[in-house]
Chain length 487, copies 2
C-alpha cells in the first residue's frame, strides 16, 4: 500500500539538495516552492478540519448519534450533556434560570460572593428551597442601610381600613346562598370558623382570628346555638348590615392588621451608592440568576418593625394562571388583566440588626409532607397568626445582623424556567416583643411567561441604550416613583 505514495518522494532529491536547490535555478525553484506551498495548503486544510470537528464535538453536535446500539462509553455517555447544553442555550443566556441545589436540610456549602472570600450557606428547608448565609452584609453595611432608610423616611406598610369597603359590600349583588357556597370550603352545608378564616379578604386588611369571629357572631346573634358553626338557615337569617356596622364600630389598631410595619424603597441601579450596587452584585452571585434579570427587579425594600410589630404569614407572590399579568412586565407588554401579581421568583431577606425580643421569620409549613390549607388553619389555632402561634410553626429563623436568607417562591417548571407557586413558601414576621427589628428585602422578578420576560428584558436593554431621559421613564424602579423620592 505504501508503494502508491512512495514513488513520488523517491523521485525527489534528498532534503539537503532540495534546500540548496531552492537558492539555485528556475525549474528547481518553482518545484520546491510548489511543494512548500502545497504542504502548507494541506496542513492548513487538515488543521481547519480538525479544529472544526473539535468545535463540533465539544459543542454537542452529535445529536443523531445512535445510543441504542452499542454499549461503548464515549458515545452513550454524551446525550445527557448535550441535552443539558441545548436546554440552556435555547434563546440565549437569560432563557435558562439556574436553581441552587438544597441536597438536604442542614447541608452546608461554601460560596464565593466577593472575590477571595468564602461564605457558608446552609439549607434550611427543601419546601420551600430555603438557604441561610451568615455575614452576607457587614455591620457597617447594615447600619448604612438603616441610616439611608431613615434619611429617606419610612411609611406605614399598611394603613387602617377605610369605609369604602363597607359600601362596596352593601352594594354587592350576590345572594346569601351564593356567599354561603363560596365560603363553604368542604361543601358540608355548614360554615366552620376555619372556613371563614381562610377568606382573609373578608377582613379587608384586618387580621381575623377565631376569637374575632366568635365575638362578631355573638354581637350580631349569628350563631344562636353557640356551636361556632353557621348552618345555611342561620346564615340566611342574618342581616349583613349588622356585620358591617359591627366591623365599622369596632376600634381597629395597627396590631389588628395583617401587617404592622413601616418601609421604604432604595434604588440599586446604575449610579446608586456603592453599598447598594455591591449588594445587588452579591445577590446576582448568590442566586446565579442572569444579571439583567436581577438588575431589572424591584429596588431594595427596607422595613422597620417597632415593638409590637408583626407580619402575619403570607406569600410574597401570587399563583400564576395563563391570564395573570406580572406587575414588572406589564410595563412593556401593555397587557392588562384582572389578575395581577408581583411575580417575585426569589426573595432575599437581610437582617439588619439583632432584635432584642421576638421578630423571628417563621415558615409555618416548611417541609410539611403535604400542603393542606385546612390543616394550617384550624378552628382554634391559625398557624398563620404570627402574633400568637409562631412557636407552633415548623421553622423559625432568629434575626442576626448581616445574615441573609433566601428562598424560591416558585417551583421550577422542569425546563429551566419558573413554574407553579410553591405553597410551602408561606412565611411571616413574628411579633417583635422588645426593641426594633430592621430587615431589607430584595425580590427578583421573573415572569412565568418566558416570552414576556424576554421581551421585557429586551425592551429594558433597548431603553437603557437610549438617552437617559427616555430611560428614566422606563426603569422598574421608576414605577415605584409615587412611593419613592430620590435621595
Amino acid at each position: 500500500m505504501e508503494a502508491a505514495g512512495a514513488p513520488e518522494s523517491s523521485e525527489e532529491p534528498p532534503v539537503r539538495d532540495r534546500l540548496a536547490g531552492m537558492q539555485k535555478g528556475n525549474s528547481v525553484c518553482s518545484r520546491s516552492y510548489f511543494v512548500v506551498v502545497m504542504v502548507f495548503v494541506h496542513v492548513y486544510i487538515l488543521n481547519v478540519i480538525a479544529l472544526l470537528l473539535y468545535v463540533y464535538y465539544s459543542n454537542g453536535g452529535q445529536n443523531d448519534a445512535d445510543t441504542a446500539g452499542g454499549p461503548t462509553a464515549a458515545t452513550t455517555a454524551a446525550p445527557e450533556h448535550r441535552a443539558h447544553h441545548r436546554q440552556e442555550d435555547t434563546g440565549g443566556p437569560h432563557s435558562y434560570l439556574p436553581r441552587l441545589e438544597g441536597i438536604k436540610v442542614g447541608y452546608k456549602q461554601k460560596i464565593e460572593l466577593v472575590n477571595n472570600k468564602m461564605h457558608d450557606m446552609k439549607t434550611l428547608s427543601l419546601k420551600p428551597l430555603l438557604f441561610e448565609i451568615p455575614n452576607f452584609l457587614s455591620e457597617k453595611e447594615c447600619k448604612f442601610l438603616i441610616h439611608l432608610a431613615q434619611l429617606k423616611g419610612l411609611q406605614a406598610s399598611q394603613i387602617l381600613p377605610v369605609d369604602g369597603y363597607k359600601e362596596a359590600m352593601e352594594n354587592l349583588e350576590i345572594s346569601k346562598a351564593d356567599i354561603f357556597n363560596l365560603l363553604d370550603h368542604n361543601q358540608d352545608g355548614q360554615l366552620q370558623i376555619k372556613e371563614v378564616l381562610t377568606h382573609s379578604r373578608l377582613g379587608n386588611g384586618r387580621w381575623m382570628t377565631p376569637e374575632n369571629i366568635r365575638e362578631m357572631y355573638a354581637a350580631v346573634k349569628a350563631d344562636p346555638d353557640g356551636n361556632g358553626v353557621l348552618s345555611l338557615e342561620e346564615f340566611k337569617k342574618l342581616n349583613l348590615r349588622d356585620f358591617h356596622r359591627y366591623l365599622g364600630n369596632r376600634e381597629v389598631t395597627m396590631n389588628d392588621l395583617v401587617r404592622n410595619s413601616q418601609h421604604t424603597w432604595l434604588y440599586q441601579g446604575e449610579g446608586a451608592h456603592q453599598v447598594l450596587r455591591s449588594i445587588r452584585q452579591r445577590v446576582i452571585k448568590l442566586t446565579r440568576l442572569p444579571a439583567e434579570v436581577v438588575e431589572n427587579s424591584e429596588p431594595l425594600q427596607v422595613v422597620r418593625y417597632d415593638s409590637g410589630g408583626h407580619y402575619h404569614a403570607h406569600m410574597d407572590s401570587g399563583p400564576v394562571f395563563p391570564e395573570t399579568a406580572c406587575a414588572h412586565t406589564k410595563l412593556t407588554t401593555n397587557e392588562s388583566s384582572a389578575f395581577e401579581t408581583s411575580c417575585r421568583y426569589v426573595t432575599v431577606l437581610f437582617y439588619l440588626n439583632n432584635v432584642t425580643g421576638g421578630g423571628e421569620t417563621t415558615f409555618p409549613i416548611a417541609d410539611n409532607r403535604t400542603y393542606e390549607e385546612m390543616s394550617l388553619i384550624q378552628n382554634d389555632i391559625d398557624l398563620r397568626d404570627t402574633r400568637k402561634h409562631c412557636d407552633k410553626g415548623n421553622l423559625r429563623i432568629k434575626p442576626r445582623q448581616g445574615t441573609a436568607v433566601f428562598w424560591y417562591n416558585y417551583l421550577s417548571n422542569g425546563k429551566g424556567w419558573v413554574g407553579d407557586l410553591d405553597e410551602f413558601a408561606l412565611h411571616g414576621g413574628c411579633l417583635v416583643t422588645e426593641g426594633t427589628k430592621w430587615i431589607a428585602n430584595n425580590w427578583i422578578n421573573v415572569d412565568p411567561n418566558k416570552a414576556r420576560q424576554l421581551w421585557f428584558l429586551q425592551e429594558m436593554a433597548r431603553y437603557a441604550k437610549d438617552d437617559h431621559e427616555s430611560q428614566k421613564e422606563w426603569t422598574v424602579d421608576k414605577s415605584y416613583k409615587d412611593i419613592h423620592v430620590d435621595l
Copy 2:
C-alpha cells in the same frame, strides 16, 4: 504609525503585474512565491488563532471575567453557564451524574425512552426522589422475563437462620453492661422495646416484632414487673443462654424472616437477549446516567413473592463512610474493608404482573419532614413491618404490570456526584395476600468515591478491549457467577 508598515507594500508592483510576474522570470518567480507562501502562512496562523479563541470561548474559558463591575447582560449572565459546563466537563463525560428534577409530588413529565414514543413519568415523592413510569415494559416483555427466570430457576432470597450465630453470641467477650449501653439508644438507663427492635441484627435474619420481644421476656422471665422495659438491674440478672435457648427452640418459618421471596439474576451485557439489552438501554435513557455506569452495574434481579411473601422495609444500599468499600469497585481496586456495601445509587423496580391481593411497595417515611428512627419504630407499631403495618406508611405503590418505579438511594453531593445515603428511601414489599407477585430490580452501582468509580470504569473498558477470555473474568456480572448459570 501606519507609515512604518506602508513603505514596503508601496514598493511592490501592482497586483496584476505581480500575478503576471509569477509566470515570468527567476527573480520575480521567487518573490511572487514568497508572497504567496507568506499570505498562506499568515492566513493559516490567523485562522488557527481564531478557531482556538472560538473553542476557548465556546467552552467557557472566560473564567476570570469580572462580573462585579458592570451591569451589562452579556458578561454577567454567563458565569453560571460556564460554571455548569466546567462542572460537567471535569474529568470527562462520566464524571458528572445528572439527577432528574422531581419539581413536586404529582408533577408529570413526558420522556422519550424509545424513539418516537413518549412515556409519562410522575413524581411520587421528593424524599426519596421517586418516579413512576407506566408501560415501561410491554406485557410480552414482562412475561418473557418471568419465563426466563423460571427456566433459569429461582432460589430463596433468605434462608432460615443457622446455629452458628448462637455459638458466636455465646463466645462474645462483652460485658452485659456494655451490651446494655449499646442497646440503650436514648441513654435513659432503660431498655424500651423499640430500642431492642432497632437492632435488627439481634434477630439474625429473624424479623423481630414487639410481640416477639414480649414473649421472649416472658419465656425467660426477663421483665418481672411486666412493664415492657428492662432496667440495667433486670438486664444484669438475665442468663443470656436462656435467650439463645429460647430463640433456638422457637420454630421459625419463612414468614418470620426479614425477606420471604425467591430470586434469580439475568445477565444484560453484550450478547444477552434483545429484550434484556433493550431494557438496559431504556434504563440508561430513563436515568440519563452515563451508559458505561449502567452497563457495569449488577444484572437484572427477578423476584417472586408467593402468597404470604413479603420484604420488610429496608435500604437497598448502606451508608458510606470514608473507609467503606463498594462491592462492585472492589473488583478493580483490590481494597478490602470491614465495611462493605453494594453502593446502589439508583433502584429501578419493574412490576411484571398484576398482583391479585397485596404486594404493594411501601415507602413508610417518604417525604416526612424529618427522619427519626425512633418515630418509625414505636413500642407497639414498627412501621417497617410490611406484614402488619403497610397501611400506616406514607406512600404505597400498587403493582401494575409493565410499570417501572425508580428512585435514588443516595443524595447528590452538590458537585454532580453521589453524596450521603437518603434515609427516606426506606422501602419494603407488603404482604402478598393472594396470588403471586413478580418484580425485577435494576440497580445502578456508583461508588461514592469518584476516583474509585472512574478507575473501575477505566479498568472495565480496558478489559473489554482485551480478548473475550480475559474479559469474562472481570465483568461485574461474573462476580455473581456463583449464583448465576448462563442460559
